[in-house]
Amino acid sequence: MAHEMWTEERPPEDFYRILDPNGELQTDPPELDEEELLKLYRTFIATRILEEKMLNMQRSGEVSLVARTLGEEATPLGCAAALQPDDWIFYTYRQTPALLYWKLPMVEVIASATGREPETIAEQVDTEDTPVNFSPDYTPIGTNVVNGVGAAMTDAFNDRDTVTMVFTGDGSTSQGAFHDGMNFAGVFDVPAVIVCQNNQWAISEPAHRQTGSETFAQKADAYGLPSARVDGNDVFAVYETARTAVERARSGNGATFIECVTYRMGAHNTSDNPNRYRDDSEQRAYWEDRDPVDRYETYLRDQGILEDDTEAELRDGINDQVDDAVERVRSISTSEPERMFDTILHGESWRERHQRAELHRELNDMNPFVDFTGEGFDE
């Protein structure tokens, strides 16, 4: 049986770039001190190590589903680094570097991939307050765009200088919710930065099947928002662009839409097999040449900021951190079944009380259906 594959189209590369694929500066780098430069590097490496570990855990059944950032790390990293403490991030499932940059504990990242009931994680993991606030992660795409813009509306109305950053994928721009978020952002001049992490794929759909527009950036026109289009694998260009947008937002001049052009090197997630729909022999080499970490590392080494021993030390440190986190995750017990009734509504209704009792009985080998009067069970 003949098998059809997508033909890939390379997006135009006339975007903003500072650090070229060879790690050479095309223009002035952002003003970042060595510590900050190493923090970015550290986050890159931490992301790769952590996600690699999670992939292994998925294979062994310890976590249930992993969506990697592989090859796209510069986008969430550069964007997140442009924020300030107290700002907000509304993310999806493909922004690990943003989480790690702002110190979301690895144990939370891993734990949430186990698919455990949320209260179990909340209770058994000491969630620290992160410097930047994170929305919860949510699976349905597009949803976070509207919520993030609504959050930013409160900042606008209260004259606060908090900035909200929203991440969305290329595929997600097709959702009505994306349209709603962008449109409200434009009408209410909200202090938000909406980032399209264009990795050119939405599961098996290439970006050219999502939209007839040549770029995603130009979608901003529809809403009267300014936009930028950058090399999403160049952490400097991403950072610089995001920084400008964040400043714009913070100073009350409204929202910006940023398209970061990158490429999903791997599968959509661990339940996907891209060989079925894309023949990436050629693309892969092309994008490997443009890897965001390689070029950044080259730059740091050229600048004498990174040396072999710093790298080794840093990797060791991360490995330990990951191992610790994994240990912590392993120590989280599975949820009490009754957890499913928690945090749905406040206060206990008849229905909730009764169904809790039913479940309790079922788990204890007692018939849960023998209440014929509505008075409940007397064990």
């Binding site: 609504g150 959050a151 009505g176 919710a177 406040h346």
Partner: protein
């Protein structure tokens, strides 16, 4: 977790002091409540289209823009999903948005945000994030309006966990229930029976008060048959009750989700007969759940089948026949007579 939650859920109704009252209709009660609550709590914002200068197509928000300004009475672009979704964002940041959906039939484009954000945020965060928001929705028929302007599709909300569904049946009920809805920490769908927005006035305390969000209201006690109903149907049930040869107990559910099952079972266990009376289509209208619950927990008390005096399983029809669709005092009277006539 809010400490005063239980207070809002469990208000002692007898404690409301009706010293000063004004005689107003239901939509005015909505307006007064919004006004008082917004005065009390700065974190309340209204969102919707046509709620600002126009004051709402039913005038529910009249005067509020002038009073509170356009940062608290927010005329939005014409997107229900945008309204609900941005309101969620506000609630995530600690505010108490009160979005309006102009007609229940226009809620449907917001179903994504409803299912993905409104009802799930509290759970998704393992309880870390509460989502206090009250979505006001005029609903129901009898106003000879266009398609989708007369819907009674509360089933979509009731079947969904994570949201309270409240419906008021009189001006005084409206004021107390709307205030309680706004003050509670859970998301609430607040249904307003627009058919009786005007035309039925009653004295309403001028001071602010809340009514319990978790208790049905016994409108009148009776010993022969229980009528379970809510919204605009309550007064029709009262009309029918005067006209039948039976001692009718009328229960105004008030909270459609979660249900006050205790009150319901108590009443039916006492009377042994039950009629459910609602505007919604019959198949999987709330009457189905009520009937099933009674069957499960009070079957041996039943002296007759439970009958459902409801709308039919059709699209809300054209003006020329909408009266034939809508359940009214005649229809509920027939149902009462039927269950009274039944013999095993």
């Amino acid at each position: 977790m809010s400490n005063d939650l239980d207070t809002e859920l469990d208000t002692d109704e007898t404690a409301i002091d009706p010293q000063e009252t004004e005689t107003i209709n239901l939509i005015t009660a909505v307006n007064r409540t919004l006004h008082q609550e917004m005065d009390r709590d700065e974190s309340i914002r209204l969102l919707g289209y046509d709620i600002g200068p126009l004051g709402g197509v039913y005038r529910g928000t009249e005067g509020l823009l002038a009073e509170f300004g356009d940062k608290r009475v927010i005329d939005t672009p014409l997107s229900e999903n945008g309204i609900i979704g941005t309101a969620v964002g506000m609630a995530m940041r600690g505010e108490r948005p009160v979005p309006e959906i102009q007609f229940m039939g226009f809620f449907y484009p917001a179903f994504g945000q409803f299912m993905y954000a409104v009802v799930k945020m509290y759970k998704r965060t393992g309880g870390a994030l509460e989502l206090p928001m009250t979505i006001r929705i005029p609903y129901g028929g009898g106003v000879k309006a266009l398609e989708y302007h007369q819907e009674s599709t509360e089933t979509y909300f009731i079947h969904t966990p994570g949201v309270r569904v409240i419906c008021a049946s009189t001006p005084a009920q409206t004021k107390g229930l709307l205030a309680a809805s706004i003050r509670t920490v859970d998301p609430v769908i607040f249904l307003e029976p627009k058919k009786i927005y005007r035309g039925v006035d009653e004295p309403v305390p001028t001071a602010a008060y809340t009514l319990p969000l978790n208790k049905a209201r016994i409108v009148q006690t009776g010993s022969d048959v229980t009528v379970l109903t809510w919204g605009a149907m309550v007064q029709q049930a009262q009309a029918a009750a005067t006209d039948v040869d039976a001692d009718v107990e009328i229960v105004d559910l008030r909270s459609l989700s979660p249900l006050d099952i205790e009150t319901i079972l108590d009443s039916v266990s006492k009377t042994g007969r039950c009629v459910v009376f609602h505007e919604a289509r019959r198949t999987l209208g709330l009457g189905a759940e009520l009937s099933a619950l009674i069957n499960e927990y009070a079957l041996d008390r039943l002296k007759a089948p439970i009958k459902r005096a409801t709308g039919y399983d059709v699209h809300f029809p054209g003006h020329d026949i909408e009266d034939d669709y809508l359940p009214d005092d005649d229809r509920v009277r027939y149902a009462i007579e039927a269950v009274m006539s039944y013999e095993f």
